[in-house]
Structures are given as C-alpha cells and as structure tokens.
C-alpha cells in the first residue's frame, strides 16, 4: 500500500495517489485568492471538498478549523506548516479546534517512543507551549486527556459505525491501540459538529498526503452517524523532507529535524550537516549551477522562509551558480537561529497557560 498512515515512506507519485483515492489537485485559482505562502508555494497540493470552505471564507461565514498533533515528541519545523495553516484559517471567521493528542500518542506509538501516558502528557505540555508561542490562544487548543465526557462518549459511539473489514481494508494491519487512536482521531475531527459544540458546519483539516486513509475513514463514518453532519473537508500538504538525504522530518530521528525549542547551536550543526543540491567542488558549481530541486536546505527555506520573492531569487541564483551552498546554509542558519531565540523567549512565558489547558 502506497498510502500508509503508519509508515514514514515518502510519497513520490502524487498523481497516482490522487487518481486512486479521488483527491483533487488544489486549484491555482484558490492559491492566488488565498494569498498565503502555503498556497503560493504549492505546499498545499490537494483537497477534498475545499470549495465549501472557500465559499465560507469569501462570504465571511463561520466554519470549523480543526487540526491536531500527536504528542509523541517535541514539535519541530515539520509541524510548523500545520500550525501556520491553522493560524491562517483562524484569521478568517473560524471556530478553532487544535487537538493535542496525548492519548492517541500513547496508544498508537511504540513504548520506545512514548512509554507511558505520563510521558505523552509531558510532551503535550511542551507542545502546547510551542503552540501558544506561535500565536494560538488558550481557547483554540485542547488536549485529549482533558476533554469533556461527550467527546469520549462520541469516540466510543462511532466505533459502531465502522466495520472491522472496512478498518482493515483502509489500514492494513491493525492492533487495539491503533483502533483506539483512530476512534479518537475521528472524534477529534467530527465532534466540533455535534449539537453540544458548534453544530453542523463545514470543517477544514490540513493533513499530510499519507494521512488520507484517516480522512476517507472519517468521511465514511460522518455519513453513517445519525447527526446529519457536514462532510468534513481536507487539504493536503506535500511531503516535507528531513535534513538528511532520503529522510522525512521526524522527531524520532533527531538529525533530520529542527525542533521549535531547539538550541540555536545544535540547529546550526544540523543545518551544516544537511544534504544539499551542491556539486562536488565550488568551481564546478559556479560553472554548472546547483540543484535546488533536490536540496534540503532550499526545501527548508521553501517551507518556512516568509519572503517568497527572496526564495525565488535564491532558486535562480543557485541554478545559475551565483549562490553557493556555504552562503545558503549560513543564510538559513541565521534565519533559524533568530527564529529559535525569539520563539524560546516567547514559549517560556506560557507555562501557566499550558498547564491550565492540561487541566493541572
């Protein structure tokens, strides 16, 4: 199976996936209208039913802005796109639900990653500090382990609406922890539409392409539930590589990712070790130009550097051999170190609010 939400396999052939599972390529028209770097730079590549959300945004009507992260480690730049997208929708007329999934993290991850629920909660507290430091408000964020009874009841309730064979067909090998994690994820995405929360309303969730099986299962269940729910919409991020060759940005492989709470010195070391699209020698590169398409440093800038014009310039100057890997790495190091210093100063101020969200 190409799209497996439990693996870290990179997905090369987008078109194949789109066709097989009925995803739609994200329209260029929307990209222009939305005026946000995630759309402008093709980081959002596909969607299901985004038209409904686009209509809501244009007509300044409310919609549900829902996303989540599993608290199975510290947050890194790989998570930042989710948060940035969430912030973008928050700036529209959205009802915001950012789930920090601690129970999910514990039950779905191996003990070597999250050995206890306590550990998942420790990560959750740290993750929440990052979210608040990035500009989310206290009322935007919830943690699974401190949710209302109705949410849990709903997670169990919807287990009646998915058969085992459907579940196996979607996910392949299953175990009970993963079943639990999935039930919670379905509840995370759908519960904002229950009468006890916002009621029926279009909802949007940004996910990685490899998470599409979850999206399909969630939509399947939404249609079976007796609550007359709006079919949830999804948009899909293209794959974000890790800093090393052939890797995904992953909390469990620390050299592939820069953490949001990372020390500036270690971030520098990681960037210096990053895989680039450079040539064997500086001379050769000046002559032939670099290969930004395969460069992890360029990809990092593409996903995170705020100024799109500057990125265009870097791409051009790299191709022409004018801008070499050393300069480029130093440029990224400076950007990242500035970000980390500011972020770390901000996040230390949110200890108290984060604890309140955890229910401590």
């Amino acid at each position: 199976m190409l799209v497996d939400p439990w693996s870290s396999t990179t997905i090369e052939n987008y078109e194949h996936v789109f066709k097989k599972f009925g995803l739609k390529r994200f329209p260029k028209k929307f990209c222009k209208e939305l005026k946000h770097y995630l759309f402008e730079r093709g980081i959002v590549v596909a969607h299901r039913d985004f038209d409904k959300i686009m209509h809501r945004i244009k007509s300044k009507k409310e919609f549900i802005n829902m996303t989540g992260i599993a608290s199975s480690g510290m947050l890194h730049f790989g998570h930042k796109v989710d948060i940035d997208l969430f912030k973008f929708f928050k700036s529209k007329k959205a009802r915001n639900y950012f789930a920090v999934c601690d129970i999910d993290a514990y039950v779905s991850r191996p003990d070597s990653v999250v050995g206890s629920l306590e550990k998942a909660k420790e990560f959750a507290l740290e993750n929440i500090k990052d979210l608040l430091a990035l500009g989310l408000d206290e009322q935007d964020v919830y943690v699974q382990s401190n949710k209302e009874t109705r949410y849990y009841e709903f997670a169990f309730e919807l287990s009646k609406k998915i058969t085992r064979s459907t579940f196996e067909a979607i996910y392949g090998h299953i175990d009970l922890g993963k079943i639990s994690a999935n039930l919670l994820q379905y509840a995370d995405i759908l519960h904002p539409q229950l009468p006890e929360f916002e009621g029926k309303m279009p909802s949007i969730t940004g996910i990685g392409l490899e998470q599409d099986p979850h999206a399909r299962a969630t939509r399947d269940i939404a249609a079976r539930l007796p609550y007359n729910l709006e079919m949830p919409s999804f948009i899909y991020f293209r794959h974000q590589s890790g800093l090393l060759e052939g890797t995904k940005m992953s909390a469990s492989k620390k050299e592939t990712a820069i953490f949001l709470s990372e020390k500036p010195e270690t971030a520098k070391r990681k960037i210096l070790n990053a895989f680039t699209g450079g040539r064997a020698t500086a001379n050769e590169q000046r002559k032939k130009g670099g290969k930004p398409e395969m460069c992890k440093v360029f990809e990092f800038l593409l996903f995170h550097y705020p100024d799109t014009k500057k990125i265009d310039k870097i791409f051009k100057d790299c191709k022409s051999g004018k801008w070499l890997c050393g300069e480029c790495k130093n440029f990224l190091i400076e950007f990242v170190q500035d970000f980390l210093e500011e972020h770390n100063a901000r996040r230390s101020r949110f200890e108290k609010t984060a604890k309140r969200i955890m229910g401590y």
Copy 2:
C-alpha cells in the same frame, strides 16, 4: 468455543469449563460462613481469587464491590441476582461501583435491540430506577455516559495492553463496537483501583460463567498495566434458565423473563405458561412425584424466594407428589405479584435521583 460471552448458549458442563479455564469451585466452607441465599443454594458456583475478599470480609477491611449491567433493555429477575449479590457485599465494608453500561449496550448490541445511544440512555434511566428501588443508594451507581474523563482516558489507555491476537483468541469474531464495549468493561472493573478513585484494593465482581473470557482478559490486562493493581477477583453464578423450555432469561425474548417493572397481570400469564417438571396428569404426579430439577417454576423460586426452608419443603413435597404444579404456580404468582406491586410503587419515587445519576 463453549464459553462465548456473546452467545446465549446454556452451559451444561460446568466441570469441563472449570478445568479448562482454571476456575475454582466455590468452597462449601465459604457458603456456610457467608450466610446468604446466593451461597447457601449453590447459585454461586465458582470463583477466581475469592479468598482475598473472604479475608477482607472476615477482618472487616475495605474492598471494592464492582458490578454492572448493560442497559440494552428493561431489567428482569435474571439481573436480580447480580443486584442482590452487590447489596450483600455493600452490607460488608465495601466501596461500591455499580455500572449502568449505556455506551457498552449501544456499541455491542445490534441496532434492532439498541438502535441509538439515546435509546441506551432511556433504558439506563429505567434500569437505575430499578436499582434504587431495590435498595442501592445514589452514590453506589454510575452510568458510563456520565463518568469522569479519567475513566474514559483509562479505557483508551488500556487498549495498548491487549494485543489483537489475544483479543481474537479470547473472543473469536470481533468487530469495532465489541472492542469498544470490552475496553469500557475492562475500565469499569479496574478503574476503581486507580489512584484517582480508591487506589489499590482487592475487588469483587459477580458474573455469569459465560462471561469468564472477560474476567480472564481483565486480569491479563491488570497485570500489564503500570499501576500495580490488585488482581481483580470474580465469583460466578450458575446459569439461570428462562421460563420456557431450553431458554435463558433474556430481555429480547420477553416470554422467558419477568421484568422488574412488569405489570402483575402479564407476570401471572408468563408464570402460567412456564415449563414445569410436572407429569402428564395430576394423578400420575401424585403417584410418581414431580421433577423439580428440571422445573422452571422451581428454579425461579430457588433463585428468588427468600425463605430457604420453604424452598426445601417445596422440593420435598414436589418429589413426593404432595405439591402439584397448579399450587406451585399460584404460590409463585402470589410471591411475584406482591414483589412487583411493591417494587413498582418504590421505583416511581426515584425518577429525580435517577435523572441526577444520568447527569440530566
């Protein structure tokens, strides 16, 4: 599989089951010491680790008294033994947890029995009125859908401690609803021992023999959880037949059971239709005597009539041909009708308390 918690198959060969699954026959010594009809009359037939509870009772120490019913219909006399046993332990120094399992009932029962969570909650409200009318106090009873967040978190948490293959080996065919129902059942039995509730303490739960797979799974999980739990103890009721030949007392087959909220007239009709151990003619019966061992009217008296001496006398007089089926049925009708009148008068007083337990 002989012991299948999802079937209504009657279990004939107790010894075989005991041997296969490591149950212990309930000791006669305990029966004498406990001085309660459920023990005196051999209605409790087996146990796992009851010695611990016996020790607690004798030394007047606390223990957890935990049982539950699925709110998949109205309560009938088949449930009364569970409630009577619970009341008996409540009269000792017990911490009481009577679970009314509405989410469980919805997710594990077919739609034809419990078509919605709302329906399960309607049954739960009615069931709670019965429990209160039978002498349980408000603080003894909880409903799954109105439990603390920690309980739900725990139900998901323990899903990590049972593998799919263990689950399948125990239960045979599984579906997601039944997995959910089981997770909640494990949580029901084990959560009272969490630090947030009573802390580590021996616990006792009375179940039917056919429920033993649940007991084994629960003990298996208890040993794997990181909370240093006391292994939960169980005692097992012998099978209670329905009023008709070869049936189990079941809410879904209304003629097999007398409901606790039944009208006295329909109870009378059901008893008159009950399968007895009588002979073809009254004359033959006077000569040869009846067969109380196979008589559903006698079994009903054995399980529910309070005076053990009277039951002994009925058994003897039936065997000798002195006490005929007509007299016996009238005797049972009078007993049941008196009970129902009193119970129905009592239960109508608990509407408000029952709603409070439901969280309404």
